[in-house]
């Protein structure tokens, strides 16, 4: 059961990573990166690292995402790659 | 050498340091030329006095040793006054006194720029030269050798004209790679035998490494010191370096720097490899032939030069190779001849350069073809010039004859008659390129000349002194400094025989 969850989260995280790197809209990329972080946090929790997951959810998904979004608003939103 | 005969003394160290300590004083009195020149002269006199005061030790066969501190694990930065080193130090320090006087006259006469830098570099060069002379081991030798390379560079490019800058570049591009060869060879020695103290007769033996290794090592050493010694084809920096002011050419390119190269050859052949090992690996012939070809070709090339200093430079290249030849032949007599020529060539060649400088200061002429009748305008100068050139050609009565005589004897003793032939040929060539100068100066006239007269006494006195020294030593080589005894003793130490 747990292994299945791990596999699903892994695949989703990989998907999110690929999407984040290939979306032309940087804002979308930042949001997908947050999603990736959130999936990673879930993975950590499923893998037993509750506090790491907690931290990743707050810092990786939350704070990093906000920082990215703010930066993108202040700079360019479109990317050529 | 009997170990009981060595003793500790700091006097060699002071002899090295005295001109180094003068540099800050010289730089500090940048704005007051008289004070600045006082420091130079003072340093020169003290240095000469210190070196001269060591003469009794050397004559008694006692060696002063001064270990300063360890410079690399197992290797000391150390000075030792052995006979051969003493000969070189004596030549350099005594001629520095005269050159200092002459320099003052010269730089003021031509109104050189940046005189402070000039005098400071000069003092640095002399420190390095004495350091080379007294170096007790290979690493110390290398260190002073490189310092000398570097300290000479500002002097070569002193005029800062494009020609002088190019000469400086040429000088560095010959001497720096040579220095690296020397470093490499030294490092090789260090990792082969560990202890690299100079020992008369050589510290390398055939047991420490294969013959091929030793041959490579020897070639590296000769490349390293041979550039400064002007062995062909490594000589071409020397004529170019004549772009320097004449006192520099006089002391450094006739005495200190090039003699440091030759001295290096003597150290390497006599104190690193030694006669036995060099005969065994058979490389002495290469060195001897290189020297023989060099002095023949250099004499031929000298004849084609119209510029007086360049002609003297080629002459220097040739005479340096006499010394190298003597070292390579490895007989008692040839070594004596080498060491005598190390001293005697210095007095003669410095006379010639002094004369060239005096002529330049008074007339701004550098080419021989412009010097018609100059002998009657500047009689003392040209008389001295005549003495020097006769001596270099090997006329008896002047000191050059004595050293050449020994070299010729040495080549016969070594069963190398061919070198005797080369020596004679080169002596004739010497005459062929020197006599026209004297002839032109005294027996041709040029009506267009204004009356020049002699240069300032600051220049005429030193050149007269060196000319007289050449004459006196030609008659009584043992007078004063016991030059002949010293040379015999040093040669005996290397060859392992009694004088």
């Amino acid at each position: 059961m747990r292994e299945d969850l791990i596999l699903i989260f892994y695949l989703l995280a990989i998907l999110a990573a690929i999407v984040a790197l290939n979306v032309k809209d940087l804002l979308a990329a930042a949001v997908v990166l947050s999603l990736f972080s959130f999936l990673a946090a879930l993975l950590y929790i499923v893998l037993g690292a509750v506090d790491v997951g907690f931290n990743e959810a707050v810092l990786g998904a939350g704070v990093t995402g906000v920082l990215f979004v703010v930066t993108i608003f202040n700079t360019h939103r479109r990317s050529r790659d | 050498m009997d170990p009981a005969q060595t003793f500790e003394s700091t006097r060699p160290l002071w002899a090295v340091l005295v001109s180094l300590l003068a540099i800050p004083l010289i730089v500090a009195s940048d704005r007051r030329p008289n004070l600045r020149e006082t420091w130079t002269l003072l340093a020169a006199f003290i240095k000469f006095a210190l070196v001269a005061s060591m003469l009794p030790w050397v004559l008694q066969g006692r060696e002063a040793v001064c270990s300063i501190w360890q410079i690399s694990p197992g290797i000391q930065l150390a000075l030792r006054v052995d006979t051969m080193g003493y000969i070189f130090a004596l030549v350099a320090s005594s001629l520095w006194v005269l050159t200092s006087l002459y320099s003052i006259g010269y730089v003021r006469g031509t109104n050189e720029h940046k005189q402070t830098r000039y005098f400071a570099s000069f003092a640095m060069c002399l420190s390095a030269t004495i350091g080379i002379a007294f170096a007790a081991n290979l690493l110390t030798f290398v260190i002073f050798f490189e310092i000398l390379t570097l300290a000479t560079y500002p002097l070569v490019m002193h005029k800062e004209t494009p020609v002088a800058m190019a000469a400086g570049h040429k000088y560095l591009s010959y001497t720096l790679p040579a220095g690296l060869c020397l470093v490499l060879a030294t490092a090789w020695c260090v990792s082969t035998v560990g202890n690299v103290d100079f020992i008369p007769g050589g510290f390398l033996t055939s047991g420490v490494a294969s013959a091929a290794t030793l041959r490579w090592m020897f070639l590296l050493f000769i490349l390293g010191v041979g550039v400064k010694a002007g062995i062909m084809p490594l000589h071409s920096w020397l004529p170019a370096a004549m772009a320097a002011p004449t006192p520099v050419s006089a002391l450094l390119h006739a005495v200190a720097v090039v003699k440091a190269g030759v001295f290096g050859v003597l150290r390497v052949t006599g104190f690193v490899f030694g006669p036995d090992l060099l005969r065994e690996i058979g490389l002495w012939t290469v060195l001897a032939w290189a020297a023989g070809i060099t002095f023949t070709v250099a004499s031929l090339l000298a004849m084609r030069q119209d510029n007086l200093k360049r002609r003297l430079a080629y002459s220097t290249v040739g005479h340096l190779s006499y010394i190298v030849l003597g070292a390579a032949l490895f007989t008692m007599t040839s070594w004596t001849g080498s060491l005598l020529h190390l001293m005697f060539h210095a007095t003669m060649k410095i006379t010639l350069f002094f004369c060239a400088g005096a002529i330049y200061v008074r007339t701004h002429k550098e080419n021989i073809s412009d010097m018609h009748g100059i002998g009657r305008q500047m009689p003392f100068t040209m008389a001295a010039f005549a003495v020097g050139s006769l001596g270099l050609a090997g006329v008896p009565g002047i000191n050059g004859f004595i050293s050449k005589w020994h070299l010729a004897q040495g080549s016969l003793q070594a069963d190398q008659g061919v070198f005797l032939g080369l020596l004679l040929l080169s002596g004739l060539l010497n005459a062929a390129y020197f006599f026209p100068i004297v002839y032109v100066a005294f027996f041709r006239t040029n009506k267009e000349y204004p009356a020049y007269g002699e240069a300032s006494p600051l220049m005429v006195v030193p050149l007269s002194v060196t000319a007289i020294m050449s004459l006196v030593l030609g008659v009584a080589p043992n007078l004063g400094a016991h030059a002949w005894d010293l040379a015999r003793a040093a040669a005996a130490a290397v060859m392992g025989g009694s004088p």
């Binding site: - | 501190w69 690399s72 694990p73 310092i147 800058m165 690296l180 490499l184 260090v190």
Partner: protein, 523 residues
Amino acid sequence: MTVPAGSETLAHHGEHMASAFDATAQSQLPMLVLIPLLVGLALVPALGLLRRRLAYPTTLISLLAFLYYSLRTLFAVMAHGELEYSLAAWKPPIGIELSVDMLSAFMVSVIAVIAVLVAIYASVAVRREDPEKEVPYFATMLVMLLGLTGMVLTGDLFNLYVFFEVSALGGYALMAIGHKKAPVAAFRYLIMGTLGASLYLMGVGYLYVVTGSLNMDDVAAIIMHQSSNPAVQVSLILMVIGLGLKMALFPMHLWLPDAYTYASSTSTAIIAPIMTKVSAYVLIRMLFFVYDTETFLRGTPVGAVIMWLAMGGVIVGSIMAIAQKDAKRMLAYSSVAQVAYIGVGIGLGTPLALVGAMLHILNHAIMKSCLFLVTGSVALQTGATQIKDYAGLGRKMPWTFLGFTLAALGMVGIPPTNGFFSKWYLVLGGIREGEWVLVVLILASSLLTAVYFFRVIERIYAKVPEQATNDASLPKTAEAPLRMALPVLILGAGVLVLGLFNAWLVSAVIARALPAGMHVPGL
């Protein structure tokens, strides 16, 4: 100054507390090295917010304390051998341990000396470059120094990573201060630096998988006989690549020239001498103290690869330096070449070569900080940044260029400067191993160095005909103020002094910093 902040609470404890405190200080030494930086790091922004001018004195005091404790640590290690310090009294391998052997004490002292001198210089230079940057400059400098010192002192692999990143964060910020283009270069460095540190962390991960421990000694003992374990091998490769990126080992040096060129001279003068060197230190620490040196350096091509890459770096860096017109960019490429000498020593891995590498860490730190400080002084005093504009400055700034010349001669390796002796040991090591090509290349590369440094020296002192221009536009003397000239001169003098006394340094410190079982022949 020697008593850390907060000690006033001690006053009522009586007089003999002083000696008791001294005894405490002895046992607390490794931590006392870090504390001045930590306290300074908290105080500098705090006081800087109140008054900008307080930033420099605070920094200087904490750096002097840092220097004092570093040297005391060095002498304590010389007297008593390795010092170990367990944070919060948790014993290793569980707790985090500061472990100071001769090598780390030596490195810390190098960092401290350079830091103090650059800080003195920066007190004037930063204020004149941009007064706004004064507080951030000193604060980030302290962050970086804290990170670097921590990297050197720690005995814990993961802790090293954290300090790695701390120093890097300080370094990025410090680099971004400067030229208009500096942030771009800093950003590129950030990407590469993070990649390097992450690869190192990955390597630590593999080691942890194998050993279950993060303490260096512990790990070393466990993997001693596991050299054939693929995880150990992978970790080694990851670490070498990661640290190679950080120390700009050819061909991973591409971030370095821009970063050094566009950062302000004051920043470069502190980053260039010690940042890459500390990475080199970590590489030495890993290759010779953690991994089984015999197996990896002799048995696998790792050592040879490092050595030849480094040699390539020496040649390429020197040639690129010759091609540069900008003074700082030339020095940056020369840094690539000089750091590669350290790489050569590490790759060769014999005692003598390692002595050469360690000596070169110190020597290059001294020389390069001196040179970068000079470019800073020149830029501030005359506005010149291109080499051609240096013409004739030797007479206008005599003291500054005396230091420059000494350092340049050291870089070329003229005896008896210190640069000669680091190459001397490398060459001795190379000859002993029979690596003739290497030996010749090392010597030949010093000719390349001579080409680009003599070109500058010539411009400085001689009138080069086509550029005798700026004589008229400048005042007769433009010597930098004392606080800028003095550090340059001290470093320049250091070039000579360290050269002359290198044997003392080698026998008293560096030879004893070698890993166990290695000893220098002749000592």
